[in-house]
């Protein structure tokens, strides 16, 4: 539904765009104090999950974000404690020492200590909680050509049972096992408002745009839909972050605002997420032979 609403928004915005122009402008912005930035995740994939710690910077800093090193990062998985190791290769990345498979229904608690973001000589502590949601195994996906006057591509549609209760999903696509939608701005998220406790039958969940060379698929390619059942906190984080990333216009946007975070402690930003993942794949078929 949100996708359909967005189509309408796109139509209206296209109308405005047709009579509007843009140009790059020089502008001076104020500065603000540094905050801890956290991005961490635990999923049902069997891998060394990680937490990335950086700090905020001035808006026109134009460098990689400053990493936070020397921190103590732990994750409580139910009753067990997992201590993450700081990567020797990537500063600011804290990884599990061994592959780990997240468990649906388990609550994960992130604890960060031994960091001094405000440089006052005293270390601060941060924490976050995320309960890994349940997910059902999907039945199938289908790939259909979708052509509009403004864009065309391959639409991915999902058939799947749905876990009980309120669920939030993040849909990503891979092409021949290579993740295409790996940036926050490329995620497709959707709550289950309109199919709660129901069967997801033919819901459009992903799109491969012909105009984007990374997304073009040809017959024989394998397209995989990665379905993540995410927490409400993570859903809100993605939606709000996308609002800010995509910019604003006076027609549809409210005032810009900070993206909410589930990280507790000293104005930290970012998100700690625990989510369960299922996948389903399909080979791009040969085009139908026209009937004579």
């Amino acid at each position: 539904m949100k996708r359909s609403y967005n189509k309408i928004s796109v139509l209206i915005v296209l109308l405005v765009i047709s009579i509007s122009c843009t140009e790059v402008v020089e502008i001076e912005l104020d500065s603000t104090y540094d905050r801890l930035v956290v991005f961490g995740k635990v999923t049902t994939d069997h891998e060394r999950h990680y937490v990335e710690l950086t700090t905020t910077s001035d808006y026109f800093y134009n460098e990689e974000p400053p990493p936070v090193t020397g921190a103590t990062v732990r994750i409580m998985a139910g009753d067990s404690l997992i201590t993450l190791e700081e990567s020797a290769v990537w500063p600011g990345i804290y990884q599990m020492s061994a592959p780990y498979t997240g468990v649906q229904g388990v609550t994960y608690q992130l604890k960060i200590s031994n960091v001094d973001i405000d440089n006052d000589g005293e270390s601060e502590e941060y924490s976050a909680i995320a309960r890994m949601p349940f997910i059902e195994k999907p039945d199938s996906i289908s790939l259909e050509r979708f052509i509009t006057p403004f864009f065309s591509g391959t639409q991915v549609t999902l058939w799947s049972p749905e876990a009980m209760g309120t669920n939030y999903y993040n849909f990503q696509l891979t092409r021949n096992e290579e993740m295409i939608h790996n940036r926050l701005s490329q995620y497709t998220v959707q709550p289950d408002d309109f199919f709660t406790d129901n069967y997801i039958a033919g819901l459009p969940v992903g799109f491969l745009d012909d105009d984007n060379e990374d997304e073009v698929v040809v017959p024989g390619d394998e397209v995989t839909l990665v379905i993540s059942s995410i927490t409400e906190d993570y859903y809100n984080f993605i939606v709000e972050a996308q609002n800010e990333i995509f910019g604003n216009n006076p027609l549809f946007s409210g005032p810009p605002a900070n993206v909410s975070s589930n990280i507790e402690g000293d104005d930290a930003v970012g998100v700690f997420a625990a989510y369960s993942i299922e996948r389903n794949s399909k080979i791009v078929p040969l085009p139908a032979i026209p009937q004579k």
């Binding site: 539904m1 359909s4 609403y5 189509k7 309408i8 139509l11 209206i12 009579i19 509007s20 843009t22 140009e23 790059v24 402008v25 502008i27 104020d30 500065s31 603000t32 930035v37 991005f39 950086t54 905020t56 001035d58 808006y59 800093y61 134009n62 974000p65 509009t148 006057p149 403004f150 549609t157 790996n182 940036r183 701005s185 408002d193 309109f194 199919f195 997801i200 039958a201 033919g202 819901l203 459009p204 709000e240 972050a241 609002n243 990333i245 910019g247 604003n248 216009n249 006076p250 027609l251 549809f252 946007s253 409210g254 005032p255 810009p256 605002a257 900070n258 909410s260 930003v269 998100v271």
Partner: protein
């Protein structure tokens, strides 16, 4: 206590005025009309030369004057018309209809008599401005489309909310705080084509008046202003056609008499035709697209006899924007039926039934898979009874009652995915009854002091069937309460006093003051600056208290050069309680828990408004300058720190002028300057999953660039041949003549080549836009 005192003062004024003048009086009443078209003139002056007192015609052109027996001279005048003097011997009650003729030629059309021209000084209203339709026609218009609302936006205290928008902010209020009435029916969205045009077709409009503060007690339901738009009644003398052919639209209005001139009609239509040219586009994909809007106005009135008149008017307009895979329509419909009845020469009454409807629909075609359809409707059924009792010159009483039944159906959503039957989801409808009674009066206390007093008592009832969600302190739904069909489950009520004083220093200058309290029970769920057709209205409820405004205003009014130059300087202060804003990242569309997104607090607005208007035979124009500030304070927005309201523009200047070079050629120009809109800019950033996310430290703490623009127009009239009815004129206009790139919005982008680099990018809407329109009448 203050309210009791106020009511006491009103009762004293009402009850003592007739007692003090309880002598036999003779009443002369009638209508003031335009000679050519027979249209009743609203607000025409009727002055008694011997006493210096007088009255003005009401919204139906009616007046009534009661005097002690004797011989008097009544002087009838109206801006742009030749005044008429009528010697009248007041020996018995009589009817006296008067017709005024427009000034003889175009050059002299703005000639006015002294009696009429100082009405800005003598009237009781502060912050009220009436615009002549003829003046509006001369203002350079965007794409040649003459627009009432775009003209209103050039007045002091009125600010456009966004470039090209039909939304306007009055004295710091939100666009939804303006009550827009078309023949007394509420217009909920006055915009076409995302606001670039308003729904008002100038050819069908007779009268426009904006009340910025001292809203008449007969009107209520909005905090900031009343824009009262009246449609023409139709020419009751002869058939007449007017129209125009322009860049973007054409229009045609037909009007004429019926039933031996006891009735008249008006039919007016306008349609844009951008889509007519789409098949010529190189991109074949858009050949079948629809992109247009239309307006239809109709009016019929019938005079049964001198005591009974009937009016039926209707408006229907729609925007259509669609292609093969998605579409949207939205539009307003209003129907007004009115009965004017004279109970006596002194007691004028009007009974009105109104039906207003605003709806939109959007989605995919019905046979599309997946299919999505979303419909939203807002419907009003209203009834009003208004009475005007003309006690005596200088003393008029108005009273009445009104009721509006609101039906708000925010969303019916039908979805159909590949393997499912239709899924239907309905956002719960809201039903509410808004009622009000009022009493107001104008009294002249001596030669210099006049007072207008009024009180309105309004009530708002939420009616079942309804489900009201209950929220905790974090705005999370904890449970809900279900109310049965027809059940009155929540009531708000309140007194809304109004008071205005005019102390006339002399014929050319006066000092005015006013106080008004207004209550608003319905508001718009919109937190964007331009607004969209998809915004929905929502009512006060157990979770949302009505908004309340108290405003004081005062001004000095002074005319110079025999009233050719009108000046005024007004100050106002307004406090708006329970002012509404929305949570960060509020989801206002299709949200059943919309009330959980609302935050309330208070806002204050203050300002100074300077208005200079010059009118002579060849030149007319005005300068309006406003300095104002509007600050909101909401505990849960911006961490409780006060912040500028979205339409807070401290400096706002408009220069408007037109000059008749000859009888056939007029030139006109506007220059507009205002401070940039408040804007929230990032002060930091962070990176997550490959994307840079901005970090903010305060709402609306910065401003966009200052806005300024010059518009020009030339009107060339065809030679006036007395033997031909056809009259034509060419209107050449240029919008944004020096191609100023005014910032519409500012965005911050992440460089696709260097993902750590960010830059600022501004979007501007219009460069130079020339337009040609041919207007005609016969």
């Amino acid at each position: 206590m203050k309210l009791k005192l106020f009511i006491h003062i009103i009762l004293v004024l009402v009850l003592t005025a007739p007692v003090l003048h309880a002598q036999k009086r003779i009443t002369v009443s009638g209508y003031v009309r335009d000679t050519t078209s027979g249209e009743e003139l609203i607000g025409a002056n009727v002055a008694i030369r011997e006493t210096g007192s007088g009255t003005i015609t009401n919204q139906y052109g009616f007046y009534s004057i009661s005097l002690e027996p004797g011989f008097y001279t009544l002087v009838y005048s109206y801006v742009g018309y030749n005044a008429e003097s009528k010697p009248v011997n007041f020996i018995e009650d009589m009817e006296l209809d008067v017709e005024l003729s427009e000034a003889a030629n175009e050059i002299e059309e703005v000639t006015v008599t002294a009696e009429a021209a100082n009405s800005n000084v003598t009237s009781l209203e502060t912050g009220a401005t009436k615009l002549q339709i003829k003046s509006i026609r001369k203002i350079p218009a965007f794409m040649g489309e003459v627009d009432v609302i775009k003209a209103i936006q050039l007045l002091p205290g009125v600010q456009v909310t966004s470039e090209g928008s039909s939304g306007f902010s009055v004295r710091g209020g939100s666009p939804d705080q303006n009550l827009i009435l078309l023949d007394e029916a509420t217009v909920y969205n006055a915009s076409h084509l995302l606001g670039f045009f308003s729904i008002f077709n100038n050819d069908a409009i007779k009268d426009v008046k904006l009340y910025k503060g001292d809203i008449p007690a007969s009107a209520g339901g909005r905090l900031s202003s009343l824009l009262d738009v009246r449609m023409k009644d139709g020419n009751s003398r002869e058939f007449e056609a007017t129209g125009g052919i322009g860049n973007i639209s054409s229009r045609l209005t037909l009007e004429g008499p019926l039933f031996n001139k006891k009735a008249s009609y008006l039919v007016s239509g306008r349609r844009t035709y951008a889509d007519v040219f789409l098949p010529l586009a190189r991109d074949t994909a858009i050949h079948d697209n629809s992109l247009y809007f239309y307006d239809l106005n109709g009016k019929f009135n019938y005079t049964l006899n001198e005591n009974n008149r009937f009016y039926l008017s209707a408006y229907n307009g729609k925007d259509v924007f669609a292609n093969d895979f998605a579409g949207m329509t939205f539009g307003n419909r209003t129907i007004t039926a009115r009965w004017n009845h004279l109970f006596s020469k002194k007691l004028f009454s009007n009974f009105t039934f109104v039906n207003s409807k605003y709806n939109y629909s959007l989605g995919t075609p019905e046979d599309a898979i997946p299919r999505f359809t979303w419909q939203s409707d807002l419907t009003d059924y209203g009834f009003k009874g208004d009475f005007t009792y003309y006690l005596m010159p200088g003393h008029t009483l108005k009273f009445g009652a009104s009721g509006i039944y609101h039906i708000i159906e925010p969303g019916l959503i039908i979805t159909q995915t590949g393997g499912n039957d239709n899924d239907t989801a309905t956002l719960a409808a809201n039903y509410a009854l808004e009622t009000g009674i009022y009493l107001s009066g104008d009294s002249k206390l001596g030669d210099r002091l006049s007072v207008r007093y009024g009180i309105r008592y309004s009530q708002f009832d939420n009616i079942g069937e309804a489900t009201v969600y209950n929220y905790n302190d974090h705005y999370m739904v904890v449970d809900s309460t279900v109310y049965g069909k027809g059940e009155f489950f929540n009531t708000y009520r309140g007194f809304e006093p109004r008071l205005a004083l005019n102390f006339r220093i002399n014929d050319a200058s006066s000092v005015k003051m006013s106080y008004s309290r207004t209550i608003q029970y319905m508001q718009l769920a919109s937190n964007s600056s331009a607004g969209t057709p998809l915004d929905i209205w929502f009512p006060a409820s157990p979770n949302i208290m009505p908004q309340l405004s108290n405003q004081v205003a005062g001004g000095y009014f002074r005319n110079f050069m025999n009233n050719k130059l009108e000046t005024s300087f007004e100050l106002y202060y307004k406090k708006m309680d329970r002012s509404i804003d929305f949570a960060d990242h509020a989801q206002l569309i299709l949200n059943p828990y919309l009330e959980g997104e609302i935050r309330t607090g208070f806002a204050t607005s203050y300002g100074a408004e300077l208005f200079l208007r010059y009118t002579d035979n060849r030149f007319s124009g005005w300068l309006s300058y406003t300095y104002s500030r509007t600050i909101r304070t909401l505990a849960e927005v911006n961490k409780g720190v006060p912040y500028p309201a979205p339409y807070d523009k401290p400096h706002d200047l408009a220069l408007v002028g037109s000059y008749d070079v000859s009888k056939r050629i007029s030139v006109s120009a506007n220059w507009i300057y205002s401070s940039g809109l408040p804007f929230t800019l990032p002060t930091g950033r962070y990176k997550v999953q490959g994307n840079i996310i901005p970090l903010y430290t305060g709402r609306n703490q910065f401003r966009l660039d200052d806005y300024h623009r010059l518009d020009l127009a030339v009107i060339i009239r065809e030679k006036d041949r007395s033997n031909k009815r056809w009259k034509g004129e060419w209107n050449f206009s240029v919008y944004n003549a020096y191609a100023r790139k005014n910032t519409w919005t500012l965005n911050f982008e992440q460089d696709s080549e260097d993902p750590n680099r960010t830059y600022a990018e501004k979007t501007y809407l219009f460069s130079i836009i020339p337009a040609i329109t041919y207007n005609f009448s016969f």
